[in-house]
């Protein structure tokens, strides 16, 4: 069958246009997915002081970028006890009794962490320079619960 007469088709432009349309729609789904992910992801980042080459772990603890969780470390017998505590009611309802994954930017730390009913989670790490460095940028992602599970965009359609 021939194409409808008088239709001049520019192959590259047709493919490009359709690709734009479909990818814009897919990316819109990605944006929604990311929003749901952002709601359960917390990033802790420490910066070096002006007179230091590398950041140091603050004794009083430090907050995630949204100031909902507070991390603190205590050193004891070659171990670092990392505590993550929900700060305030809004944070507590998000994390209480939820499981999470804690990992560092460089991949040195990658473990599961469970929050108790008071919004507190504890991890015991090796006290090494590598782990201390890794703690300067860590991510805590709550695992999906049945009630608040962000659906994958592919399954949304």
């Amino acid at each position: 069958m021939r194409l409808v007469s008088n239709t001049v088709i520019k192959p590259a432009a047709v493919v490009h246009t359709v690709s734009v349309l479909l990818n814009a729609a897919l990316a819109r789904e990605d944006l929604r997915w990311l929003q749901r992910l952002a709601d359960r992801r917390y990033e802790f980042r420490l910066l070096a002081a002006a007179d230091r080459e590398e950041p140091e772990l603050p004794e009083r603890g430090w907050h995630d970028l949204r100031h909902l969780l507070k991390a603190s470390v205590a050193s004891n017998n070659a171990e670092l006890r990392l505590t993550v505590q929900a700060e305030g009611y809004a944070a507590l309802v998000r994390v209480a009794n939820r499981a999470s994954r804690l990992h560092s930017l460089d991949g040195t730390i990658d473990l599961r962490l469970g929050f108790d009913g008071t919004g507190r989670a504890l991890a015991v790490l090796e006290d090494t320079p590598e782990v201390r460095r890794a703690l300067t940028q860590i991510f805590l992602t709550l695992e999906e619960s049945d009630a608040a599970a962000p659906r994958d965009p592919e399954g949304d359609s």
Binding site: I9, K10, A13, V20, L22, A24, L26, A27, D106
Partner: protein, 393 residues
């Protein structure tokens, strides 16, 4: 062909827009965080091919580094054009400035700048222009070796952002991220449909260009971490290496110096005197590592750099007549026709999904829009190529 970076580019275009707000505040930190998080969490496999070198770095590190070497990479000017695609992006973003007068902003080459003083620029726009000028002044003025910029500049003048009498110098080589950071901080939003899609088309062209060196290195496969070799291998060397490795693959030869010497006869690699030298080099050693052999769709990668010319975004009339033609030929069905025209016109997802025929089409693809999109794009490409071939013959 669906380029792997198009979806990420469309994501970036959405980040630079907001269909629900009266104005778009470009919050750079937030956009950066969104992009790197999306790269690490959503695009690590399809775009960064992170599983191939997960042994080397985390997806978060890969996303931050990818940002630097693609969106943060100042693009070299092509000898065929006066302005790069990132200059076009800067102009488009400036023309979206919140004050109406920004519509007249242009990024141009000017040999003898003549101030157009007749038009008074409102104070608000003057202030936002001053911000842009300051940001532009912070950018490096570096011109890469071998760039045609000096010749083009001598002939047509230097590049400037101009808004009537206001003028700010623009470097010859700027990155996508430079274009975003030097644009007015408050933009007017683009409505869903053609206005946004045209902008998205431009961003896709930009990202395809910015992505290319990374894509070339990924094309080597073998589990190489692209970030390790970007500063070591030139584009020419990478392409030569890909030819060399293709010869090896086609002959199904295992990695021995003897087989490399045989492949070398057919495809020598620039920068190395012999197969033995390549074998002993750092890159030779890395290519022979057993953790390599990740499966990357090389056909897709080849297309991505063999067709670097930006394509046009069709007008509504052109798109409609093309889709009508494809429908008449049974290349697409009525539901797909409606879906594409709906997306072009900015019909919301909810409205599209309310259509029984589109829902039925989605069910055929297991409810996955991604699967439907992939299949549809393939058929459109085949139909367009066939039609082009028929017309040519």
């Amino acid at each position: 062909m669906n380029y792997p970076c198009d979806r990420f580019a469309a994501f970036l275009a959405h980040c630079l827009n907001s269909e629900d707000s009266a104005l778009v505040q470009l919050s750079l930190g937030e956009i950066y965080a969104r992009l790197t998080t999306a790269l690490a969490a959503r695009y690590a496999e399809p775009l960064l091919h992170h599983p191939g070198y997960a042994w080397r770095m985390s997806s978060e590190e890969a996303s931050a580094r990818y940002f630097d070497i693609s969106l943060g990479r100042a693009l070299l000017l092509s000898p065929r054009v006066q302005l790069s695609i990132t200059h076009r992006l800067l102009q488009t973003l400036c023309q979206r400035g919140a004050e109406v007068v920004w519509r007249q902003a242009v990024v141009v080459r000017e040999k003898d700048p003549t101030a157009e003083t007749a038009q008074v620029v409102p104070l608000g726009a003057q202030r936002s222009f001053e911000q842009c000028r300051k940001q532009l002044a912070k950018l490096p003025q570096t011109i890469s070796a071998g760039s045609p910029s000096p010749t083009i500049r001598a002939r047509y003048g230097s590049i400037a952002l101009r808004l009537y009498s206001l003028q700010a110098p623009v470097p010859e080589e700027i990155s996508m991220w430079d274009a975003v950071t030097c644009a007015p901080a408050v933009l007017y939003p683009l409505s869903a449909g053609e206005p946004f899609n045209r902008f998205c088309s431009l961003v896709i062209d930009c990202v395809r260009t910015a992505h290319r060196p990374f894509q070339e290195l990924l094309g080597l496969g073998r589990g190489l971490c692209p970030f390790d070799w970007l500063d070591t291998l030139s584009i020419q060397q990478t392409r030569a290496l890909r030819k060399f490795l293709r010869v090896m693959e086609e002959s199904k030869a295992v990695d021995t110096l003897e087989h490399w010497e045989r492949a070398w006869q057919e495809a020598p690699v620039a920068g190395f005197a012999s197969a033995a030298e390549l074998w002993q080099s750092d890159i030779g050693l890395a290519l022979r590592q057993p953790q390599g052999r990740s499966g990357i769709d090389t056909a897709l990668l080849e297309t991505a750099h063999d067709n670097p010319e930006p394509a046009d975004y069709l007008t509504e009339e052109e798109l409609l007549s093309t889709l009508d033609a494809f429908l008449a030929r049974d290349c697409i069905n009525q539901a797909e026709h409606s879906l594409l025209m709906g997306l072009h016109r900015g019909v919301s997802d909810t409205e599209l999904k309310a259509s029984a025929e589109i829902r039925a089409e989605l069910r055929k693809h297991g409810g996955s829009f991604e699967s439907l999109a992939e299949d549809l794009l393939k058929r459109i490409e085949t139909a367009a190529t066939q039609h082009h071939g028929e017309c040519a013959s």
